[in-house]
Amino acid sequence: AQSVTQLDSQVPVFEEAPVELRCNYSSSVSVYLFWYVQYPNQGLQLLLKYLSGSTLVKGINGFEAEFNKSQTSFHLRKPSVHISDTAEYFCAVSALGTDKIIFGKGTRLHILP
């Protein structure tokens, strides 16, 4: 079985500062990894995904994530955040060959002016 742990339930950060949202996963088989963003009162939107190849993945809105197999991590980063990045961010994992995506509990990114 797979599981995802998002270590921080909420991350406050000043506007234009860098941010890192942490994600660790557990799986006995190879996995695909995702980050989704949920803006207030909206559905989830795919930010980026790691399927294979380069461990540094670039996504939309200036976000990137790095897959670290030895540390079973997939942390999300952005060098400079904006007020519009205020949202809930979900890390997710899917085992190869399955349809099911398992989500972490989410991290609320709170941008301070």
Binding site: Q38, Q42, F90, L96, T98, D99, K100, I101, F103, K105
Partner: protein
Amino acid sequence: DTAVSQTPKYLVTQMGNDKSIKCEQNLGHDTMYWYKQDSKKFLKIMFSYNNKELIINETVPNRFSPKSPDKAHLNLHINSLELGDSAVYFCASSLVSGNYGYTFGSGTRLTVV
């Protein structure tokens, strides 16, 4: 055109009633899903269908019954609604396998009073 559309967006109903939520996707995807997001934002998969065939059926009360008339539609019917059913229900779809990520609808906020 909206890729994954759900109706209604909001649903307020009394305990004991029966209600349905509809979902349609125009992406040509083969697999569709229902997820439940509780008040703490936790997302849990309920069902998935691949080309009208039930693939995933998580531990969900049998008051919940999905129906897929064709691969572009997946409806969710809920009998004898309970207070604990209050949540946001998301429909999603994926091309062939969920390993490549989902496209989500904007959600249906169900409130049982």
